[in-house]
């Protein structure tokens, strides 16, 4: 029973960690390289455990992120919902991809996420972002194998689901 509780705390903890990493500023030069942590962590949990991540959970996490981020409420909720929906739909296929294909899939997901964000921003009247704004999905995809292996390893060591 305590193992179950531990695994739930681990799940919530990673999500909180993702939100915090989203808020931590980087030095100006590295700023465009910051990956979209909540998206990455959610993709991982979607692939790994079957029924833990639902659209509702993604929506709630997105609302929390919006609350912290202070841009416009519902923006990240929408992005994360779309992301989770796509991952859940192709979950069984994504899981059996070799790592490089999985990485490409994650890249596509993150790029799609950026396009959604761009649409929202442009519709709300912001200007087009600079070119280096598009680096972030690539960094996220490059980090994906390491993140995946690290999280899997930690889970195996803690022997939690």
């Amino acid at each position: 029973m305590s193992r179950l509780r531990l695994s739930r705390w681990w799940f919530v903890g990673t999500l909180v960690f993702a939100l915090l990493s989203m808020l931590v500023p980087l030095p100006g030069v590295l700023e465009p390289f910051k990956p979209y942590w909540p998206g990455l962590i959610l993709i991982y949990w979607c692939m790994e455990s079957e029924d833990r991540v639902t659209l509702g959970a993604a929506f709630t996490l997105g609302l929390c992120a919006d609350l912290f981020d202070g841009v416009v409420i519902g923006e990240q909720a929408m992005r994360l919902c779309a992301l989770v929906f796509i991952v859940l739909r192709f979950r069984s296929r994504l899981r059996f991809f070799p790592m490089w294909q999985q990485t490409l899939a994650v890249l596509a997901l993150l790029l799609n996420d950026r396009i959604l964000l761009l649409i929202v921003r442009v519709l709300s009247g912001a200007s087009l972002p600079p070119a280096d704004w598009w680096i972030s999905p690539f960094v996220g995809a490059a980090l994906w194998p390491f993140l995946f292996l690290l999280m899997d390893d930690i889970r195996a060591r803690m022997r939690i689901q």
């Binding site: 100006g28 416009v72 519902g74």
Partner: protein, 333 residues
């Protein structure tokens, strides 16, 4: 929960119900976005949720603080000594300048009293520290460690040692958010120090710049001109440096000159900023002038006027001379 999922075919997990749910959530988020865009709900929600939000900000700011502390801890002794020496010299120089300025300020005060104006050189300021939190993709805002409990109000100007940084946009109980002068949605009335030309500096879309899109073609603006706050509009007190003109070119419309300026404040680097409190100068545009013209007593409706004129003829005659000077001053002789 796991049972329910197992019954559906795992290879085609996304069924019609999933799509429906997705559509529901997407629609919900869009409605939220539109409503928030219209009504600015988010900030009200944030003030309510500040109990949760603010500790998270502090937590997210901790790596920055840690890096800063580590930087000091592991810094070269040599460098620290040099820095200390330089700061001492700066302090000495600043003190010397201050002493000289003190005399000038007293003199200025006396002259201004002679002129009977109320501008004061004294600043009522509050020191605030920047919390390192990354708010969204646009780097047009800062978070400060002072909030409503410290008496911070929206609209207060924020300056650093070199110039104007921006103004307070939103206030939470113990933190506040600054809108920087480089925000494209921000405009600040400025005056060009050399020529006295008044114009407005907007935040530029290219990050970290100010743009002055409407300078008259005939106006005298050169690269290197200093921009000061003009004090028009009443939000920023006059005389604070805003930036230096970096380039001037005719605008694409050909009707105006457009200039780019670099902000004077260290917008990317400042860690400590000053919040200006209510200035002695009156805020906002001057109070509306009482309308000129004949006194109200004369503007009585025509059907009442004769009756009153006949009854209080004396008062009517007495009031007649009043509009005369106003009219004579209005028209040239």
């Amino acid at each position: 929960m796991a049972r329910a999922r197992d019954e559906s075919s795992p290879l085609f997990a996304g069924n019609a119900a999933g799509t429906l749910r997705l559509i529901f959530y997407l629609a919900l988020s869009m409605v939220l976005m539109v409503l928030d865009h219209r009504n600015d709900w988010l900030w009200r929600m944030r003030s309510t949720a500040s109990l949760v939000v603010e500790p998270v900000y502090r937590l997210a700011g901790m790596p920055t603080v840690a890096i800063r502390t580590a930087g000091v801890a592991f810094a070269d002794r040599q460098r620290l000594t040099e820095q200390n020496q330089r700061l001492r010299e700066d302090l000495l120089l600043a003190n010397a300048k201050l002493n000289r300025m003190g005399a000038v300020a007293v003199q200025n005060q006396r002259l201004k009293e002679l002129l009977d104006t109320q501008h004061s050189l004294e600043l009522n300021v509050q020191l605030a520290r920047v919390i390192g939190v990354d708010l969204g993709a646009d780097r047009y805002q800062l978070t400060l460690n002072l909030g409503a409990r410290d008496g911070v109000k929206p609209g207060q100007p924020v300056i650093d040692a070199h110039g104007v940084m921006g103004q307070i946009k939103e206030v939470l109980p113990t933190t506040s958010v600054v809108m920087l002068v480089t925000d494209p949605a921000h405009a600040i009335p400025v005056v060009i120090e050399r020529s006295g030309l008044r114009t407005v500096a907007y935040g530029s879309r290219d990050s970290g710049q100010l743009s002055l899109p409407n300078i008259p073609l005939a106006a005298d603006v050169r690269v290197g001109d200093h921009l000061l706050t003009s004090g028009l509009g009443g939000r920023f007190p006059p005389g604070f440096p805003v930036g230096d003109v970096a380039s001037v070119a005719p605008a694409s419309t050909g009707m105006f000159q457009a200039a780019q300026a670099t902000p004077a404040a260290d917008i990317d680097r400042s860690e400590d900023v000053l919040l200006l409190h209510d200035q002695a100068e009156p805020d906002g545009p001057p109070s509306p002038v009482t309308p000129m013209g004949p006194p109200a007593a004369l503007a009585t409706p025509p059907d009442v006027a004769p009756a009153r004129a006949s009854s209080v003829a004396g008062a009517f005659v007495k009031k007649l001379p009043v509009p005369a000077p106003a009219q004579s001053s209005g028209t040239p002789p």
